[in-house]
């Protein structure tokens, strides 16, 4: 009983952090959606962005922002927001299909890695749930583990322990996997490594400065990974493995908040 009370009091304590001004949100969303319907993408975009600036982290919101950007033919920005949406909810089907479509419109063809069937299967599973689901799963597994240990201690004190020990190992393995997955997802959620080229064209140099030799020229919408930062120059790596330095104002990082 005591514990429950503590939990509930804590919940009450924490809940104001989550609570948003729901009225304000609904109002803004209404405006934005109406504007979108009227093809006033500018207004819609600014309304959606207002919500984002109010610390609302939501896959649907990012998806809508991406759509507004796309309608204004800002492909790079649209890709960033689709990626953001997928960061929050990797299983967001609409964002997934829109991103796939929009990537066909970029100037540079981005070769997706053709992994083996097994790794593709695992990746699909990995992307089929979001961070919180994996956190929940981890917690549940942890609870089961503790319960099993308690049962082992009490009920099986003077009995054959092989079954509970086997179950404990099983749960332990699952727990390790789910913890790893959760950690990776958490890392990805907070990572600021993915970036998308937002300028029309960007030139990659062999060093941080225009005096170095040119390595490549890429266009808006190219997805890359940031490996190093040097003042306002970034060392990026393209999906095909080529690396080069790029000025930081030519790309935007896919980062949540």
């Amino acid at each position: 009983m005591k514990y429950f009370l503590i939990i509930i009091s804590l919940l009450i304590l924490v809940s104001p952090l989550f609570a948003e001004n729901t009225d304000m949100i609904t109002q803004t969303l209404d405006n934005a959606i109406t504007a979108y319907h009227n093809k006033d993408y500018d207004t819609a975009l600014s309304s959606f962005l207002y919500l984002e600036n109010n610390n609302i982290v939501n896959a649907d919101l990012y998806y809508n922002i991406a759509n507004c950007h796309f309608r204004q033919s800002q492909i790079g920005k649209a890709i960033i927001y689709y990626k953001k949406a997928l960061k929050v909810d990797p299983a967001h089907t609409a964002a997934n299909s829109n991103l796939k479509f929009i990537l066909t419109l970029t100037k540079d063809k981005i070769d997706s890695d053709n992994n083996g069937a097994m790794s593709q299967f695992l990746l699909r599973i990995y992307h089929s749930f979001d961070l919180n689901k994996s956190a929940l799963f981890t917690a549940i597994l942890f609870l089961i583990l503790i319960l099993l240990l308690i049962v082992l201690q009490s009920v099986f004190q003077h009995r054959d322990k092989s079954l509970p020990v086997f179950l404990i190992f099983l749960v332990l393995i699952l727990l390790v996997i789910s913890t790893t997955v959760s950690y990776l997802k958490y890392q990805n959620f907070h990572s600021a490594q993915d970036a998308v080229i937002t300028s029309q064209t960007a030139i990659g140099f062999s060093g941080p400065g225009t005096e170095y030799t040119r390595v490549f020229t890429i266009h808006e919408g190219m997805i890359c990974y940031i490996e190093e930062t040097n003042e306002n120059w970034l060392l990026i790596k393209l999906p095909n493995g080529i690396g080069g330095w790029i000025e930081s104002d030519q790309l935007e990082i896919v980062r949540i908040m």
Binding site: L29, L51, N58, Q153, Y186
Partner: protein
């Protein structure tokens, strides 16, 4: 005939006599002899089994007297590809003498061995008057051009073998140049090769190294070497002449003394000119005739006739035979709908030993759609010079059955373009008015709190359980705890009786007190009142309280033995007394724990 004839005639020497085969040759030392001269007629048998054959029986020779036979044998052992081969050569030398002047023939001799017959060639002899025996000094120097007979052209020349001197246009003509020499040729170089103007020429044979063989030509033995073989195809009709082939040869001369190996001498030799009379092809050629002249066969094959969509098969046309294979054309396959013919792969093979070859045209075909298809018969027309007429060959007709398959045929283009989407657009926005902010639980305190609670529940429960087992093991502690409960129960009962004025109040009060005290004082249930009192005093209950308890027990005993002797007021008083006792007992702490 010349005055000097060759001294030795070898008809044939089997160099590569295999184990079972025999080589049998017969030759004479001279073909032109004087009537009084001895003729050495030699039968040479070679092969591994040569020893097993007895002296051949010479048939009756007309015009010759057989004056006796002498035998000699020689053995040679060779290692060929790691296997050991022995070869024995046995020579039977007959001494013959001519009976008359004129042309006499030594007939062919047959030797039978292991059911096989080996025949020698007949030799024509020219017997003249007098003696034709060479001087002994000359006879030994037969290898030297100086001492040998007459003109160089008799002893060394280039022979031309031509398959046809009056060919049709485009007909294959084989021309082989062979060097014949009685001398020891050590090296050879081509000086001038014929240009074959008016012909289309293919080199069929060119020697890679000196390869001199012993051969007989018109009954005389020569060192021979094949120089060149050309396959030529006249491209125009009429009289065409071909320039001679010229070679330079080095010949080893006889050593003058035993200390030197002899010198080499260079000679230049030219072949004769060749004159061809090329015939025009007869009129009346079919329209599809593509200048193929020769003897040809046409074969066609198909790798598969039952297919699925997307499968591929090969369709092969093969023209083989003798003729101008390399520049013949075959009618190309017509386009067939839903079958995709990839560019054919053509290979031409010319056999070098015989001038023939084949041309193979291989189509790789991909079935694009299901259905039944027919690959039509193709015709190939050529002119056969032997028959002097045009001949049409037809390939087989093939019927294909293409079924639906799993493979989808994607038309191949040179560079693969990305799939072009048309009429496609992004999905519409999501009109959800409730946009809850996503907070990763890993960032919330609550999540970690829950995890912590789950975690500490393990030591808590284990502690609790430990306590439980401790309690279960301690009976006295349990009794003490129970005592209060028991007292309460009886007190309740007593209070009920008291209200109704029932004298059972006393029995309830006594049981309650007794049970409570026995449990509390840790003495056996049902102990005597005195024991209880003693123990209570011993354990440090105040004397005043012990007295009151004693008094209460006495009152209860009295009441039990005198039913109805107690009034309502007594019960009331005693109830108050009992309550005071209970209250005081609860306050009192006993020692000795």
């Amino acid at each position: 005939m010349k005055k000097y004839v060759s001294l030795l005639i070898f008809l044939f020497i089997a160099i590569y006599a295999s184990a079972a085969d025999l080589g049998v040759t017969a030759y004479v030392n001279r073909t032109t002899v004087g009537i009084n001269d001895n003729i050495k007629y030699t039968i040479e048998i070679s092969g591994s089994d040569a020893d097993k054959i007895g002296t051949p029986n010479l048939p009756k020779l007309n015009g010759f007297n057989n004056q006796g036979v002498s035998t000699s044998s020689s053995s040679s052992y060779t290692m060929v590809n790691g296997s050991f081969e022995s070869s024995v050569t046995k020579k039977y030398q007959y001494s013959l003498r001519a009976k008359r002047v004129g042309k006499i023939t030594i007939p062919s001799i047959t030797i039978k061995y292991k059911k096989k017959f080996y025949k020698t060639k007949a030799i024509n002899m020219n017997v003249i008057q007098g003696s034709n025996e060479p001087a002994p000094s000359q006879g030994k120097k037969n290898n030297s051009p100086k001492s040998s007979s007459g003109k160089l052209s008799d002893n060394m020349f280039i022979d031309i073998d031509i398959s046809d001197r009056s060919p049709y246009q485009n007909e294959t003509v084989d021309v082989t140049y062979t060097l014949y020499s009685k001398y020891d040729v050590t090296s050879l170089s081509f000086n001038e090769e014929p240009s074959f103007i008016g012909f289309w020429k293919e080199d069929v044979f060119t020697p890679k190294r000196m390869n001199v063989q012993r051969t007989t030509r018109n009954g005389e033995i020569f060192n021979s070497m094949k120089l060149k073989t050309y396959a030529i195809f006249p491209t125009q009709s009429g009289n065409i002449s071909v320039d001679p082939l010229k070679v330079d040869v080095d010949i080893r001369t006889e050593s003058r003394n035993i200390w030197s190996f002899g010198n080499t001498k260079k000679y230049s030799i030219a072949s004769n000119k060749i004159n061809f009379n090329v015939k025009e092809l007869p009129a009346g050629a079919p329209t599809n005739f593509t200048n193929a002249v020769g003897r040809f066969h046409l074969n066609s094959s198909i790798s598969e006739t039952n297919l699925k969509v997307g499968d591929s098969f090969t369709y092969t046309l093969e023209i083989s035979g003798r003729g101008n294979i390399s520049n013949i054309d075959i009618a190309t396959l017509p386009e067939i709908n839903h079958l995709r013919f990839l560019d054919p792969e053509t290979s031409t093979e010319i056999n070098s030993t015989k001038v023939n070859g084949k041309k193979v045209i291989r189509y790789l075909v991909v079935a694009q759609e299901p259905g039944n298809f027919t690959i039509p018969s193709l015709s190939f027309i050529y002119f056969n010079p032997d028959k002097g007429q045009y001949i049409t060959l037809r390939s087989d007709k093939y019927t294909l059955d293409v079924m639906e398959g799993d493979n989808i045929y994607i038309p191949g283009t040179t560079s693969q373009a990305s799939i072009h989407l048309e009429g496609s657009d992004i999905g519409f926005i999501i009109e959800d008015r409730e946009m809850k902010s996503f907070v990763p639980w890993f960032d919330s305190i609550l999540y970690w709190l829950i995890i912590f609670l789950i975690f500490i529940s393990l030591p808590i429960t284990s502690m609790l359980m430990k306590r439980q087992t401790q309690i279960a093991g301690d009976l006295n502690y349990q009794r003490q705890k129970r005592a209060n409960r028991v007292l309460k129960k009886y007190l309740k009962l007593a209070s009920k009786y008291h209200k109704s004025g029932n004298p059972d109040f006393y029995s309830a009060a006594q049981s309650g007190l007794e049970n409570y005290l026995t449990d509390k004082l840790k003495i056996a249930r049902g102990s005597r009142k005195d024991q209880i009192i003693t123990q209570a005093t011993h354990l440090g209950y105040p004397d005043e309280l012990v007295d009151r308890i004693n008094f209460m027990f006495n009152r209860c005993n009295e009441a039990r033995f005198m039913p109805g002797g107690f009034s309502q007021e007594n019960i009331q008083t005693d109830f108050t007394g009992l309550r005071n006792i209970v209250a005081d007992l609860a306050k009192t702490r006993i020692k000795g724990k």
